[in-house]
Amino acid sequence: MSEYIIKNGHVFDPVQGIKGDKKDIAVKDGKIVDKVGSGAKVIDAKDKTVMAGALDIHAHVAGPKVNAGRWYRPEDKHFDSHKKPGITRIEGGKSIPTVFKTGYEYARMGFTFAMEAAMPPLYARHVHEEIHDTPIIDEGALPVFGNNWFVMEYLKNNEIENTAAYIAWILRQTKGYGIKCVNPGGTEAWAWGLNCLTIHDPVPYFDITPGEIVTGLMKANEYLGLPHSFHVHQNDLGNPGNYKTTLDTLKLAEGIKPKNTFGREQVLHSTHLQFHSYKGTNWGDFESASKEVMDYVNKQKNITIDTGNVTLDETTTMTADGPFEHHLHGLNHLKWFNVDVELETAAGIVPYIYDPNISVCAKQWCIGLELALFAKDPMRCFITTDHPNAGPFTRYPRVYAWLMSKKYRDERLNTFKNADKVIAGTHIGGMDKELSLYELACMTRAGPAKALGLGKDYGGLKAGMNADIAIYNINPDKFPSSGAEIEKAFSNVAYLFKDGKICVEGGKVVDMGKKHTFWVDAKVPENKQVMHDIREKFLRYYSVNENNYPVPESYAPHQHIITVDATKA
């Protein structure tokens, strides 16, 4: 493998605490090293910004619901389907791009990893087929557990060990990465025409509450010592006044300690928090609760969050929160897709237009940005758009620009149709903070890598770490004064190294790299009870045979397996 030396760049690396100093980065055999030989290829990074490859901790980029979005929205790619010159294929779709476009666009923005945020275990094969077809970037997928019959039955009796054994089994069958929980209990209640809007609403038939599911899954996660923490999409998403439920859920993490060998310090990751930080009683008196929520998050060290920034685009919402999508369809009357996944979860899809002329959308935009600006510890707050729910991931550069330039975001804020009303209901008008490149590196690199338990090898530029490196045309000494310039620089990397290989050069994809599928193999003590229950459920309820359930090796040919051993606990 070739050697490289990246010279004279301004390096931003939270792992080593480097804040823009000029430093050479040496690359050899896919790793960052202290020194390379004189024959190493020199990359001139003078007047450029050098960061580790970015990691997206939460995006819906692969699997059955993403694909359902693609086929039921042909209009999403009609005006947006191009073949760029070079080795790339046709790139189609805007809010739900093809797998190829997904890989290329992430790479062009300097990303090297994306976590598929909701994998229905039954359809894990489909998720892995799409992951395998997504070029360049590494990916993992989080199976959903928050409405799973096994989980609810075990946790009703507080059987953490059995829950953990079942989770370990699922992770191995589905090649999954961690524990995702969407609208705990609420999606199962939806099968009964109901929902769980607080953490105390009982789930019909199972007679368990969302609070018990959250606590139980958090404990099971730490029992197993998984690299990532429990990852939750909370109850009552997207409704005015929901911040109380949000705080109630976050408080469940109090007193629970992280137990793992990966350097992860949180026990709960609260995703797309923007959708959960609403005050008011209806859409008329709807207000930002970002301050209340972030005041709590800032002082509670064992919690991480991601923002879920609204980008003010036409997009496609898709979630395992079935009742929410039905609710949304009732609001905008656009086409609604709904599916139940037997015993496990459900999903819904509705197109949505975040219209800057509608004050609710404008306030949502404010709340997402406020969360990132209120965050005191950038290592615990990550930037996402909950792609494609609050906006397409291809808008990250614009979100960064809004966060890094008060001028740019104020231009947007002041030209909203109901600007006065929007400013009165939010905090952003009075916020002067502008994110620094170092904070951005925390929020998009070192932070998510650490939260995913990948901090030893990813998200930084220390010798020994994986050589995933993004070089941007940004000179920190002459930081771009216009938002459009910031956007442009983050949209097209000067160089992207993936595993020590140049995959993007001058914004152009030049190599498809070698993508890996990350998954976690957790060893647990033999558990006859759980194996019996699994067999019984397959015989009695599942429409597939147990032998046809696992994801075969051929579906994930390039695996990066992380092993944990919970037998010694």
Partner: protein, 266 residues
């Protein structure tokens, strides 16, 4: 107004995507520059000059430009699509997407058009002096934003799924239509001089459909509420007023439910 005349000199082997045949693309260009404009055939790019003899020059703006096309255009798609001003006259039948996403100006086709023409039309005038295929003035596949403005006039018949998701503007069809006229309509006006097959105004929220002929099978969600004397597109007649589609949601204004109207000529 300057006139540019295009004469077909070669037929495409597949279909030619004439996205650049409209006053907006031609504006400010001489014949030689127009000849260089691109046109896809399958995945290959060629130029308009490869397929047309071009005479005359365009005006400075789209509004000052008239395009006349002679020769057989039955394998040409997207003529006049997305045009915002000026005039286009095609003395031939045309293929799909003719006049789609049109915003202004006038487009006349002296012949038949294929399906998906006048899709999501937002303004201007589109006259088809022949028959039209399916999805005339409808929304693009999957989309919920159909024709929203302008006038679309067909002399002959049109196919099925005409004016789906229409929200505004006016469509006049001289002949008959097949099934699914004005499905999901939420505004606008359709005048059908001939007969319709089945399912007229299915899931219609708002808007008006006038039918001069017969509907083969009426939707069950329509209810007659009276008769009205009206002049529609130059014809004075008595119409039976049906409200509907009663199976669909309807907005309220000042406490009153706003229904769609289907007027059947007596």
């Amino acid at each position: 107004m300057n006139t540019v005349t295009l004469t077909v000199k070669k037929q495409p082997e597949l279909y030619l995507e004439c996205e650049n045949v409209n006053p907006d693309a031609f504006a400010g260009k001489k014949a030689a520059d127009i000849a260089k404009l691109g046109a896809y055939q399958g995945k290959e790019t060629s130029t308009l000059g490869d397929y047309f003899t071009i005479a005359g020059e365009a005006g400075a703006t789209a509004a000052d430009t008239k395009i006349v096309i002679n020769g057989d255009c039955t394998k040409m798609k997207y003529i006049g699509a997305k045009m915002t001003a000026g005039e286009v006259v095609v003395n031939s039948a045309c293929d799909m997407y003719t006049g789609s996403w049109m915003k202004g100006g006038k487009l006349t086709v002296n012949g038949d058009v294929h399906s998906f023409c006048g899709l999501a039309m937002a303004g201007g005038e589109f006259v088809i002096n022949g028959n039209a295929g399916n999805y005339l003035g409808a929304a693009y596949r999957g989309d919920w934003r159909g024709m929203s403005g302008g006038v679309l006039r067909v002399k002959g018949n049109a196919g099925s799924d005409v004016a789906s998701f229409m929200t505004g503007g006016e469509m006049i069809i001289g002949g008959d239509v097949d099934i699914h006229l004005g499905t999901h309509m939420e505004g606008g006006k359709i005048v059908l001089k001939g007969n319709a097959n089945r399912r007229v105004g299915g899931q219609l929220v708002k808007g008006e459909i006038y039918v001069f002929g017969k509907i083969n099978v009426m939707m069950p969600g329509y209810k007659p509420v009276g008769e009205k004397e009206m002049e529609v597109d130059g014809t004075k007649a008595t119409f039976v007023d049906y409200i509907g589609d009663l199976g669909e949601r309807h907005p309220k204004r000042k406490g009153e439910t706003v229904y769609g109207h289907l007027y059947m000529k007596k």
